[in-house]
Symmetry: C2
Subunit: 385 residues, 2 copies
């Protein structure tokens, strides 16, 4: 749905980066009249060359402006040193020249294996094809950014006279799998870069940032939003916030459902602690616990592991007053097992876990995670070899 | 080797706590003349009843004194509320009465499933059998504390006229698997409680505390050391430190080798950061990364995952100057792939990972961990059900 907003064109192509010969390059282009943009990036200190470039584009170029984003899958261009930076710049320069825009008007996103040199000639040829083929090709673009994704991920929000569309790939922002999370959002609403940034930070905090598949964090994670203003509708911050949240939330749910080796979608809500941040930390601590995740895979209502995990969280709690609910059924009350706790049915695909930390505090947060399955280990133990 | 030190007796028995009808209770008894003792316990805020009792015994009783430790496997007596505390006290009272010592002279250790009521009558009967059978039965005791362990774990240090022996079960202190770590050390050296505590804290910091199998932390972890002084040899702090470290180090290595589902023993050393604490944090961050652990299982020299993992660590680093070595072969230099990196042979059982964070700092630490195997997930997804 990346071309649903007026003013945006897109294309996807196969440049030959992936050994599988599947589509591996995409371009999203904003024809204007506005070029407002904002981005959020990985918190990892080891960052890929395209992340360095895109960050620079949003601050060193015309601050808060991007006119196009060039994507490739099949190669992360991470941990390639100065050569990686140069390779990224060469591709961006080529795209900028073809589109007749400035170097820093073009952001870049890459995803794939870390530490492989970028095959620049293939990307140059691919970019030429993409620019020549720009059109209403949102599906082609969404497919071309996939790596281990099994389905393309798109979402659309329809406002009153304006729309906001998005595409994404991967399985999480704060803690994605090897499959980096890349997301691009486009809108034809009239909005300033500051409004876009505020809406994006607010939405990612409760969507991608709380999607935690395996505790790992990619070197390449990027979310970029662009507005063309082509609808001439001036939105309020509240309207924009709602739209960005809706599209991010949909993409995050799609990523959770498509996570590598997932057999269970687990939603962990923590309450009864002092602050939302503490609740989020506690929910994340449970969601990252290998034993908890294995129990979910086994449909095993082993609530003791939930308690053991949350006991290590950096959150206020009353260790004698913790309660746990699986699919709304009490399994642990006041830190003791509840009647029938071992018989709770967790065989369904969706599992809701609610943990109350017993302090009476108003802190609350929800984190999406998955189980730790045999398929996950099998898949991730044979990636490069 | 828990009875190698003069003055100590032990016994093991089958009390019927485990459905498997394997041995499940043990007793270690110090005949004196000294009764100095020290302990370290889990950092989890959700703690089992026996941990509460043993902590109290070492401070509320005759400070720094314990005359016996009663162990049971098959039931953790954790998350059982006030009833769990009462059940633990009932067993301890019975043992104290049979041994004619005070209530707080007896410490308690439990390991097994969380949230199951303790079958007190079975433990009372078992304790009676244990006291009647006290003798030179270190092997029986070491076997009786096993849960998912496949082999018993014992170690011995021989000093000049004195010895220090130990037994343990489980797979880690800071971050053990569901199989809680319990360790008991005995020595016939003459040493004060303060000396024992100093030696124990120093040794655990670099042995059990840096053994990290799956990032989970038990509610029951306990390490207790007792000295009888029966050798009449007054040791120095340095001699005691060396002995306690040697025995803890051996037991930690045995636990790593016997960890659930382990197919690889992985040692991660981090250098080139400001402090030892930072190096430990970075090594632990790598050791807990699911993708890194899956790569180890697959004998996959995917060094990109090592860099992506360490980039999230709370340690000083130069993101452009990180180097990684697998089994002493460079796979990444200055954050770029080294020649032949993808061909490094990791098919052996032992893998040594060395990461230099490139700041030139003197911080250094080593963490022991394991791979994340199909066997691990299979085992841990079907524990209670």
């Amino acid at each position: 749905m990346i071309t649903a907003a007026a003013g945006f064109l897109a294309a996807g192509t196969t440049a030959g980066i992936k050994p599988s010969a599947k589509p591996d390059m995409a371009l999203v282009y904003n024809q204007g009249p506005d070029f407002a943009a904002a981005g959020v990036f990985t918190r990892n200190r080891v960052v890929a060359s395209p992340v360095k470039h895109s960050r620079a584009a949003l601050v060193e170029g015309n601050t808060g402006q991007v006119k196009a984003v060039i994507f490739n899958s099949g190669n992360a261009n991470a941990c390639n040193g100065a050569q990686g930076d140069q390779d990224c710049a060469d591709v961006v320069k080529h795209v900028a020249s073809l589109l007749n825009v400035d170097f820093y008007d073009v952001a870049a996103c890459s995803t794939g294996l870390i530490g492989e040199p970028l095959p620049v000639p293939k990307l140059i040829d691919g970019a030429t094809t993409l620019v020549a083929g720009l059109g209403d090709h949102s599906t082609d673009a969404a497919v071309a950014i996939m790596t281990t994704d099994t389905v393309k991920k798109e979402a659309l929000y329809e406002g009153n006279g304006w729309v906001l569309g998005g595409m994404g790939k991967g399985v999480g922002m704060m803690a994605p799998s090897l499959a980096t999370m890349l997301v691009c959002l486009t809108t034809d609403a009239v909005a300033t870069p500051e409004m876009l940034e505020r809406a994006l930070k607010k939405a990612t905090a409760t969507t991608f940032d709380t999607l935690d598949i395996d505790g790992s964090t990619s070197t390449n994670d990027t979310v970029i939003i662009m507005s063309s203003g082509a609808s001439t509708v001036q939105v309020t911050q509240e309207e924009l916030d709602a739209a960005v949240f809706a599209v991010c939330d949909s993409l995050a749910a799609q990523m959770q459902a498509d996570a590598e080796g997932v057999t269970k979608r687990v939603t962990i809500t923590v309450t009864g602690t002092s602050t939302d941040d503490m609740a989020r930390n506690a929910a994340r601590t449970i969601g990252r616990d290998q034993l908890f995740k294995c129990a979910m895979f086994g449909s095993d209502p082993n609530w003791g592991r939930t308690l053991a995990a949350v006991g290590m969280a950096d959150a206020d709690m009353n260790p004698d007053k913790i309660s746990v609910y699986f699919n709304d059924q009490p399994v642990c009350i006041d830190s003791c097992g509840a009647e029938g706790a071992r018989e709770v049915d967790l065989t369904g695909t969706d599992i809701a876990v609610h943990v109350d930390l017993g302090t009476g505090g108003a802190g609350r947060a929800t984190v999406r995670t998955t189980d730790l399955s045999l398929q996950y280990v099998d898949f991730n133990s044979a990636y490069t070899t």
